[in-house]
């Protein structure tokens, strides 16, 4: 598709109208998704083609690293659905009766800005992986690749004694893999989201076993659902090895993907290049 060259003001107007018309035409062709995100739907929407190979060696209560691609959906099948970052959770068994989660999340933003969150959480070895103490830092990397120190924030925290009916959203990524799959599993708790925002009155329960077709293969996936204040329903999808494959909540999904980090960094590089290009063309226009 060729867009008329910019030569004079009149052509600029024609070009803008042309772009607007094309945008309108694209919009009118969009199809509404219509139903909540599930692994089957994610495949239909090209958000995943397969999961990392499953392994019988995977032990939910052992040492492991899971990396999730963060994917968002505007509710249309054809457009507006993007990978926007990744979340890596590393589980380490401690000599004491606790475990440590090391969390690293990068979320891409417009104009090549990146929010990077790192956390180390010492958790109880209970059903909810209740946090005992933690450290968290949030940093921003600018379009020039440098960190913006003025926006840093760091926090340390510790749970009060006996606070074992609470957990964190990242802790649930770990805990849900150790839960029994069956209708009897119903947990009630308060949640510290991002180790900073308290969301009370949460419930996690087993929904059932659902047939799912991924990469031409039929598999059965277990589903838990979390409901509570300050969140939209959040579904956790696990395979038979109790590996957490997908976490889907309304318009976003965390998808287990070994390439998530690479994909995110490639997108970030492209965004940085296109941002620089945009800036340089703006500078030329101003001149």
């Amino acid at each position: 598709m060729t867009i008329p060259q910019i030569k004079c003001n009149r052509v600029v107007v024609v070009q803008i109208l042309y772009i607007q018309e094309n945008a309108m035409a694209k919009k009118s062709k969009r199809t509404i998704v219509g139903s909540p995100l599930t692994p089957t739907l994610l495949e239909e929407l090209d958000a995943l083609s397969n999961y990392p190979p499953s392994s019988e060696d995977f032990k939910p209560d052992g040492n492991w690293v899971n990396t999730y691609r963060i994917w968002t959906c505007h509710g249309y099948r054809e457009s507006g659905n993007d990978n926007v970052g990744f979340l890596r959770i590393k589980r380490l068994i401690n000599p004491q009766s606790s475990l440590t989660l090391k969390v690293h999340q990068e979320v891409l933003q417009t104009d090549a800005l990146v929010n990077i969150v790192d956390a180390t959480i010492e958790c109880r070895n209970n059903q909810l992986a209740s946090p005992i103490q933690w450290k968290i830092s949030s940093r921003f990397r600018g379009s020039d690749g440098k960190y913006i120190s003025e926006l840093n924030s760091n926090d340390n925290g510790a749970a009060a004694e006996g606070l074992d009916r609470s957990t964190g959203d990242w802790c649930l990524f770990e805990a849900v893999q150790r839960l029994k799959t069956g209708k009897e599993t119903v947990l009630a708790f308060d949640m510290l989201e991002g180790l900073s925002l308290l969301k009370k009155g949460q419930h996690l329960s087993y929904r059932g076993l659902y047939p799912t077709k991924i990469g031409g293969e039929n598999i059965l996936l277990h589903c838990f659902v979390q409901l509570g204040s300050g969140i939209l329903p959040c579904e956790y999808w696990l395979d038979d090895y109790h590996r957490l494959l997908v976490v889907a909540s309304m318009n976003k999904a965390y998808i287990l993907d070994e390439q998530a980090e690479k994909i995110t960094h490639r997108i970030a590089e492209n965004e940085q290049k296109s941002y620089e290009k945009r800036r340089s063309s703006q500078r030329k226009q101003k001149r």
């Binding site: 509710g75 104009d111 969150v117 659902v225 409901l227």
Partner: protein, 477 residues
Amino acid sequence: MNKNTTTEQSSCLVNRRDFIKLSGSAVALLANGTLTSDVFAARQSRRPKPKNILLIFTDQQHIDTIAAGGCRHLQTPALDRLKNNGVSFTQSYSANPVCSPARSCVFTGRTSSETAVYVNGRPIRSDIPNLGQWFSQQTNYETFYAGKWHLPRTYTSDIPGFKVINTGIGGFGYLCDTAMSRACEGFLRNRSKSKPFLLVASFMQPHDICEWLRLNMENPQEIRYPQLAGKFPELPDNFVFDENEPGAIRKRRLGNEPFKGKWNKEQWRYYRWSYYRNIEHLDAEIGRILQALEDGRYAKDTLIVLTSDHGEGLAHHQMVRKNTLYDEAAKVPLLFSWPGHILENRTDTTHLASGLDIMPTLCDFASIKSPKNTRGRSLRSILEGTSVSINNFIVTEVSSNTGRMLRTPSFKYITYKDDSVEQLFDMRTDPGETKNLAASSRYALVLSEHRKMLRDWESRLDVPPNVPNADVWRQKT
């Protein structure tokens, strides 16, 4: 004319006066609504000025979404705190209940037809300064922006007049607002306290309800989560709608997901439940910023303003989203907090306020004049408890400059271009806007007076020629 009609007139017919009361004495205004310069200077020198200003801007927030304001369907500790610490308006309207147009009004104090942002995704007319540009020129406040802009780009690191500390992600409130509030938290923690700032924290939530509608359009016939049965909020009293509405409203309703998906009442109630969860998410993120403000010991020195670009249908009149002139879409929360300097724990149920009033109000607090031709009025005297009246009516535009609403203390008048159906509601007896009085001969004079007020208002606007329908509104009625 019968006696009842006369009564209706006397309670609603008002002329937009060129005087406002200030501390008991009338003070002359210039044609654009600003004070004469000597009076202005004398008055401003006596009034305290907040060291910092924080404008919290939400997206698509229905006015009745604050627990402390009486909403029973959610918990909002942060919004409650803001409300209890200051003044909240219950008669506060968006100047255009669509994202970009509404934002252009808040950030300039000019109508969306004047800014030329009559639809989403247009830039503000270049000869009209925005809040950041005006404050940068006229004050010593450093101006910062975080989050959604949408004039024209939804997110950008390049906003005239502001240093952008954070952009955003696509149109996703849940991810983007968390990063945005973290950036604001870092900013407030690391900043040197000696420099005054104006910070805009512009959230995407609860706009995520738009994605929710598209991801839940199909009616599943049974609830996906049976454990929620019995927990959904009831439907609003004005769930039913008048069949004889202007065509633009009917068309909008039929194009929305609930009608395409043939929703039953349970699905409508599930949608309401989901919207309130988005508000709770927003509240938590606002709480993070308020906490950082307190931790940084800014709280006493900072004037906080919270408003939204527009409301949300929320099943009233069986509408979802925005872009109509019914109260659910047109009204927005408007909260001011500055403990010790303005009234506290005060719900203002009488004064009409508009998104157009925010720019002049902030200018007033910053002891500067508003830009030329600002259409709104400063609400400062109301916030300080020294004024009984500011706006005798407010006007809201909508739908690519094809619709208008004029709201007086008693009535609401709605009209659309090329549509013979007008609407007139008595807001005292029918706040749900269910009985259209426009065709009633008893209200003929009320109707004609409202038409005249609108015509007079339109005649004063400076609408550029490239805005569609500009002439229509000058000539209409």
